[in-house]
Symmetry: C2
Subunit: 763 residues, 2 copies
């Protein structure tokens, strides 16, 4: 564990005491979001210390010209960057003529942050003695409304403690922002228009190149002892990019003074005229009081928690971890808009760019299927359907593939590839498999087959065509092989016959083939429409089957395991436990070639295949492969421990399962990878959910029924979770003595518990 | 063939007619150099069209901050860039008030360039009608003195043809230059000091970071009808970076007017005070007349040609090709200074950066050994000896190797690695083998063993230690393997057990072992000194032999060939001849992953091993491997055709050998790779020399004797070359009827011709 300053608490993330070294980490951990926008926990007032300023709007990106050492054909021309949006939270504070800056106070006491996950707000409080010896007590609450998702609210309250104070509140909005992550130090926003009247102001700017328009707005009220004052801005400073107001109040010692700032963004994705949109957003917010808006927020979060909460008894750190993960996933993506997806850092940082990785299909969809209406998962599938043309274009342009073969991008905002390393962009093609798997998984879980004839089948055909063309026949092996890939374990590049890739390739072809037959029988009109559209012949289908029916899989008969790739056993097979601790994490200590030829595994690879296709293998096979590969796995990807946790639980290795659970659920809170200042690992958080529901809960869907084989770490007294399975809401509560099932639906259902059928009746 | 505007000529490179599209290509092809400096054939007068300005000083570089997409541990922090030096050739020309600019003349007639390789000068002439209707005839000769190698000379002569003309000559020197190839558009030169008096001027600048100082200087004389005029500069414009003079002359119609400009650089590598050095350089040049300096130049080149010329009768293009290659090699490197090396673009362009690749050892050393005093090749070996400490540091820092294992850099200026792709920098480790091979080759050819006890053995030990530590034992194979490499064929990355690499690794260990024994017996004092210095134990030596004695080599018994690497036969083995021509060159048409998994070979790889270690394999083995791999070789490296030419000749495939010879010798003249505007492929030019001497001449050194098996392409009537073999100069002249040998030394020698001993007596 690398940091432990976050206070254990069942429902809140809490920091106590001010430490400049922790500011950037806390800015990540205390981030807030509402699915449409989000922001790091930057201070509202000026702060001259080290900080990473970030506020983000879903779907708004900038195509940053690719930076590479040596250009290679096929590299994308740009990298779609998550964009630091204009600042709407800023409020400079002047106390008796002195600017408040926590980097420059005589004394700071009782500094505390709380991110209340249950209620969806962020609170910061402290007492400070300024250089001019004024002592103040400060309380700030901020939240981004779930209901009015273009609106955020700040209540910034100051009480002078030792004398009267003249307080100037100087709230501003500013489009003159830069990105931390920019290839060429360019500005990403171009100013268009500013406007202000009375207590509100608007700055409209657009992104260069992509021309997304955003109006950043604010409305301010000044209060004394919680009552609104009739006071207007005295001084206005306005440049092309920034508007700043100034309100002066004389506050007696002990009296609470505050500013309430409403702010946010309206964007051209949703508005013809973003300025009018912004004026309306303010009007809507002003219809309710601040207190009422906060109450609405608490209720909206309560609805989210009602369905998605997981309780863990007897282990507050484990409890805090899982809730932090669930909270962040809901802050990032709520499934309302099929144009959006789940960025790896959500709204907590800029690293990686893009919004969509295979993480969405491999890790996030199960969480959203089980905790939300099935339309949410469907929207995530539709996102890929809408980008099918781009995936076909990608395969044509970069691989010379024909006939509608589709290669989905590794990283994308709009369907175009925007990652620029050949070993990832061009070779980590297994991502295509996860996209097909998600369609299978969606149907398996929700029972909603309609997506396949409507949209999914076209995606499955494009992907099957890709694998058919990407495999080649090896005369030497008399089988089909897939050469030159990077598997899920990114500590290998350009390997031949990665087991996971070959396996999912075969599966994709077979599954597409089966669905074509099924749609042909059950949805003949859709079948006709699709086959005509994609021009698929029986001859081509036969060719597909030749590939899938004769695919090569590397294995060791002696060890009884599949090989991660050809030649894996030629490596110097020193176990992780025998590796000098000073050499870890290897990605910070070793050069790339050394990592590549080592046996060390960044994240589940063969085991990812066993995770997806568990039914295809015996428990004995899982055990042999798990024990072999776990011993070489360094888990330096956030996506790794969750899969191992699930499999360890299945194999009754409960201590191991628990250790992996803690590592995945507190990855950011405890900063295992020493990088939380850059933002949180959002997509891997869904893996934490899986490690409870599928790992300890042992939940599986088989033949349209739910199966459980619950287990419990010895550290816990009990845990419970709810899932929405086919519109029935089932609550599972596990203790050391028994497992209880409760059904909130109206129809009784049969589930299987440890292979025995159990009838569950409605409550 | 991609261009054919160069006029065939035995001794000169000639362009006729002015074509703006060809300016940048001709700037490369007509480059001049003298081993210490060199420059592209930029115009002296202003030119507003497309041009690539370049003037270079040997050994002067700039560490340009590395640019990569995704940083990986072990990447070097900078890339050593060849540096565009200040301009000393510039002379603006004003004719009757109009600036001469070939991009802006009414008429240009009889434009002609000639690079006279025999005499070492570059000449340009044309007749132009200006916008003001003045017609002029212009003749410019430029050369870089071989004798005074800090000095270049320009004679710029103008004759007004249709009226009298007021001509202003405005010569300048200018340190305000930029590099075409710069990662961050930074300036590389910082101005220090300017000075001028009478007809001479000096600008002193230093490179940022590396702080190389250079004084750029000029001295001007004005002539009328070839007689010097007593005229001084009328106007001086001087900024911090640039000094420009202006001389006005009234020239009658038909009268020849000219400016003679002496210019060049003195650098802190060679001078305590570069300004005083520059003043002395001008004084030295002025001691002789321009005519005398030109005569000296012709004589100096004549001496170079006397030893290094190859004549080809009956095929002017083949003749022109080989001379162009020999000329460029001598322009680039003359072996006077062991701090210098042979950059891949010499003084003709900036691409690739660095000065030293494995090209030097694999391709260039044989040329320099055979055509110059053996001290020249020795200097190239010493260059690596001097960088041994850096190579040891490199292996320690990036690979965690211990105990003096040395990994030489892929690209370097000063011994530090400066290439920034992991697949090259970290994995193309075979380069280490060529550095050891060069030591073996030097001794084999020159018979000078003294280098090994003096210096070479330490290098051999460092390299053997590297291979010993880099190989690992595969339990699966029960042999040692070398994983994760890039072989000479850079169209494969991160492969396992590249035959060439494994083979040369084993050879390096065995050769080092043998030399340790030999030095121990014959040079016991050196042996003691070295073993104590490098702390080499018998136990370590035994461990070396375990690796070299049990190295794994991939092969196919069925095909009777070695495999380029594990898994090569799994590829989709479509022959190059069956590949659609529209797909070539594949490096411009295909994405990197597609290239990597294809069977196509950029340059000799297995066959490079057969070239180095020909004696280790039978001709039958060579034939099988050659026929297999040649069919997959696309020769998209300049270093490829020469090896295939030599082997084709050995296998009596004379049409093939001839075709490869033409491709290698006229690569730049005919611009096969469509990139000559970026500069010429200097290091591969030594391969052209090898393809005649070793290919057609069949020259080999075996057991201290010279062997020949001469062959002749049917297109030629004869060819001849000289070589310096152990201080005996032997001339070989081959026609279709006979081969003659002439000896310029005083002692008769025995050579073997087609396996029969022949006694050659002095002339």
């Amino acid at each position: 564990m690398n940091q432990d300053y976050i206070q254990p608490d069942n429902w809140s993330i809490i920091e106590e005491g001010f430490d400049k070294e922790r500011v950037k980490s806390s800015e990540s951990l205390f981030s807030i979001g509402n699915g449409a926008m989000g922001q790091r926990a930057n201070f509202e007032e000026n702060y001259s210390g080290e900080t990473f300023q970030g506020s983000y709007i879903a779907g708004i990106y900038y195509p940053d010209k690719t930076k590479v050492g040596w250009w290679k054909n096929g590299y994308p021309k740009y990298f779609a960057k998550v964009l630091n949006a204009p600042n709407w939270i800023g409020i400079e504070i002047e106390i008796n003529g002195e600017n408040l800056d926590l980097n420059n106070c005589k004394v700071i006491k009782n500094f505390r942050r709380e991110l209340n996950m249950k209620e969806g707000w962020y609170h910061r409080s402290f007492e400070a003695t300024l250089q001019n010896d004024t002592e103040i007590s400060v309380n700030i609450r901020r939240f981004l409304s779930l209901d009015l998702d273009e609106v955020g609210l700040i209540n910034y309250e100051i009480t002078p403690l030792n004398k009267d104070a003249r307080i100037k509140y100087k709230p501003y909005i500013d489009a003159g922002v830069t990105n931390e992550d920019a290839n060429w130090d360019e500005k990403f926003w171009e100013h268009l228009e500013t406007k202000h009247h009375e207590n509100q102001a608007f700055v409209t700017a657009q992104t260069f190149k992509t021309h997304f328009k955003a109006t950043t707005f604010m409305h301010n009220s000044i209060l004394s002892n919680e009552k609104k004052l009739n006071i207007y801005s005295e001084i206005i400073s306005a440049t092309d990019e920034k508007i700043q107001f100034s309100y002066t109040v004389e506050v007696a010692q002990g009296v609470k003074s505050s500013i309430q700032k409403i702010g946010g963004y309206t964007v051209s994705l949703n508005h013809e005229n973003t300025l009018i949109g912004a004026e309306n957003a303010i009007k809507l917010a002003l219809k309710k009081s601040y207190a009422q808006l906060l109450q609405d927020q608490i209720e909206s979060w309560s609805k989210i928690w009602e369905m998605s909460d997981i309780t863990i008894d007897g282990d507050v750190k484990a409890q805090q971890g899982i809730r932090f993960n669930i909270f962040q996933l809901n802050q990032t993506y709520l499934g309302k808009d099929s144009r959006l997806n789940i960025g790896p850092k959500g709204f907590t940082g800029e690293k990686y760019g893009g919004s969509t990785y295979w993480d969405t299909e491999a890790y996030c969809i199960p969480f959203y299927m089980a905790t939300k209406d099935q339309q949410v998962a469907r929207n995530l599938l539709i996102y890929r359907y809408n980008q099918l043309d781009k995936a076909i274009e990608n395969a044509e342009k970069n691989l010379g593939f024909k006939n509608g073969a589709a290669l989905y991008p590794m990283v994308t905002m709009n369907g175009e590839e925007c990652h620029n390393e050949w070993e990832i962009t061009h070779e980590e093609i297994h991502r295509n498999g996860a996209i097909a798997f998600a369609i299978f998984n969606y149907y398996r879980y929700t029972g909603d087959y309609s997506y396949i004839p409507e949209k999914g089948l076209e995606v499955l055909i494009g992907i099957a065509r890709f694998w058919h063309q990407r495999a080649n026949f090896s005369k030497d092996k008399n089988q089909f092989v897939i050469l030159g890939v990077t598997g899920p374990n990114e500590y290998e590049n350009n390997v031949n016959n990665n087991f996971y890739t070959n396996y999912i390739a075969k599966w994709c072809i077979d599954y597409a083939y089966e669905q074509i037959q099924k749609v042909s029988l059950e949805y003949p009109l859709d079948h006709k429409r699709i086959i005509e559209k994609v021009k698929l012949s029986d001859a081509e289908l036969n060719d597909w089957k030749k590939v899938s029916g004769n695919m090569y899989f590397p294995k060791s008969d002696e060890l009884g395991i599949y090989l991660q790739q050809d030649g894996f056993l030629d490596k110097d097979l020193v176990l992780v436990k025998d590796l000098d601790i000073s050499q870890r994490p290897i990605n910070q200590k070793w050069s790339w070639d050394r990592i590549l030829r080592s046996p060390y595994i960044k994240q589940a690879d063969v085991l990812q295949g066993f995770y997806f296709f568990e039914d295809h293998f015996s428990t004995e096979e899982l055990k042999r492969n798990f024990e072999f590969y776990e011993a070489f796995t360094v888990h330096e990807s956030s996506l790794s421990p969750c899969v191992h946790s699930i499999q360890a639980a299945k194999l009754d290795k409960m201590d191991m399962a628990y250790a992996f659970y803690l590592r995945t659920s507190r990855l950011d809170l405890d900063d295992y990878n020493k990088e939380v200042e850059e933002g949180c690992h959002i997509t891997s958080m869904a893996g934490t959910w899986m490690s409870i529901v599928e790992g300890f809960g042992g939940m599986r869907v088989k033949n349209d029924t739910l199966h459980f084989s619950p287990k419990i770490p010895k550290e816990w007294t009990g845990y419970s979770f709810k899932i929405n399975f086919r519109n029935q809401i089932l609550k599972v509560a596990v203790t050391h003595n028994e497992t209880q099932f409760a059904l909130e639906g109206s129809t009784e259902i049969t589930i299987f518990v440890n292979e025995k059928a159990v009838l569950v009746k409605p409550n």
